[in-house]
Symmetry: C2
Subunit: 375 residues, 2 copies
Amino acid sequence: MHAFRSVALDDEKGELVLLDQTLLPNEISYIRLSKVEDIWEAIRNLRVRGAPAIGIAAAYGVYLAVRNSANITESGALISIDSAVAIFKKAKQYLASARPTAVNLFWALDRMERRLALECDALASPAKCHSVARLPASGREEIDDLLAALRQEADAIRDEDARMCHAIGEHGLSLLERGWGILTHCNAGALATAEFGTALAPIYLGQERGYAFKVFADETRPLLQGARLTAWELMQAGVDTTLICDNMAASVMKRGLVQAVLVGCDRVAANGDTANKIGTLGVAILAKRYSISFYVLGPSSSIDLTCPTGAQIEIEERHGEEITSKWYTHPMAPAGISTFNPAFDVTDAELITAIITEKGIARPPFASSLRELMK
Amino acid sequence: MHAFRSVALDDEKGELVLLDQTLLPNEISYIRLSKVEDIWEAIRNLRVRGAPAIGIAAAYGVYLAVRNSANITESGALISIDSAVAIFKKAKQYLASARPTAVNLFWALDRMERRLALECDALASPAKCHSVARLPASGREEIDDLLAALRQEADAIRDEDARMCHAIGEHGLSLLERGWGILTHCNAGALATAEFGTALAPIYLGQERGYAFKVFADETRPLLQGARLTAWELMQAGVDTTLICDNMAASVMKRGLVQAVLVGCDRVAANGDTANKIGTLGVAILAKRYSISFYVLGPSSSIDLTCPTGAQIEIEERHGEEITSKWYTHPMAPAGISTFNPAFDVTDAELITAIITEKGIARPPFASSLRELMK
């Protein structure tokens, strides 16, 4: 489908291959990283972004930390299991600090560590990886087994994400019809995941199957993910895409050019209230006005049944410089102006037609349908 | 109230003084123009913008064309009335070409020409200015009278605009309460008029009277008039102003921070449907959702009773470069992306709480109230 992959492993060379998203859409540049420091930098500076993609990059990152240390001594003395575990732990802790609020980053790293522990148990039972000192030094074969296990786990994280996106795509596509106009906001696409994305997954599946969707992408101020990323990746896949400013969505809907809205989600409360990129709430209100279906798409891990409603979701406020001067040749607002720059908003459940996850489709009333879905 | 004036005449020096709006908000620069060519350039390149301000600049422009030609020969032979009329007509035709779609530009120039004709009639009845050849050559006194008449007419255009803005402000303010949060879109302020503006007039009046409004200014993509101009001029007047991206308006409203929306208008149809800057429709739909009053403010000349509904209003579509690359250090969207860039949208009458002009306030049903207002 896509000519690009946001995150990939070149195991032969011992390199993580990232499409540098900070250079899009002007430059399509793949960076090859073998050092943990460079992978940290790439996560930190958003060269790779999107919760699933970050998780995958970090999982390969800790794998490569061990693999490349082992390789260094391949022709001579192999590193010990002790050393491998120490290298892993150091790399894990370091990569976790790249984006301290990225829950999926920690999740992926913890999962890799559990696999490491499991493997150590198998190699040197009853010693635990957690007590490195008790592990015996070991030979080439043990290190190879350990590396194979770590690589397998990282591949699994990637493959599960890809399968999940496909499943979201299938469920989503079942709600759409050929030739429809579809509006999307921000970027919940292939760039943010292993492939296919979440909100964009039905569009890509539809593209493969000749649905001929016409997609309108909100540019998504202030960070312009729609213009820079969504428009780019849809174009790459040959999807009929039109870029608009956020404030043009109402005009597009009024003209009858949109039959469904597809958006991603950062967090869905138990009642269906959904936190997503700033501007999503406005789009949902417009969709309601024009009787357009409004679909939220995301992994079931985004559904937080412990959070009763959207009122409990805290909204991050970011620096006003993103509004006043970022991207510009010179500031576009007077010096000293006050700004309000919430990064997210909460769309009320009543505005949402359905919430689509890899497990299936939840419809109102969401309090019961989401609980059912998550069983 | 304001420390600035968008358009002013320095009659002593024979100069039009414009606040160069292309340099805002980074530079407050007044330009002094004595040549018609320079005034043409300023109108053409939006150094002065907003229908009323353009009209005032053009009116002073044709006055200065005659005045400065007369001055040149002050110490020697004065120009003839013939020459004065010829200079006027040439300047008028030239200035009218600066912005071929600016109706108010032609209106102001035509009004100046009618005054010229009237004056010529008085000076040399029954000869008509339209037949220049029949006018007698004349002395210093006649030229002085002619110049005084032209200056008076240009002043009148400016003063009438100022009075109109004040009247709109008074009517508008009668609908607002102390301490309210007010959201506005684009720029319908003092920069666009002789002073006070239209949509912003109630805010300035309220500011003078201690209403302590808290104003949210939409940045207004793609041309950012809200960020560059509205935020700037409200700050100049000491108004409590917060700049937001267009897609944040829903969040601001949901948080209960806005009690009224004030917007300008380009054209109001007989049924109340209102064409205004792109994004206005979306704001109106959001305001309806949150039961916030949505007020349209403008001169009664914006009300076009010959236009039955908004469906008959043609919407200008502008170049996509305004979305993809204008203002930026480098393009923010992939090369070759399709765009949709309507400059205006039409807000349905049913979304509008009231339409406020210098003649008074029209409320639904607008079909009858607007007709009544325009009697």
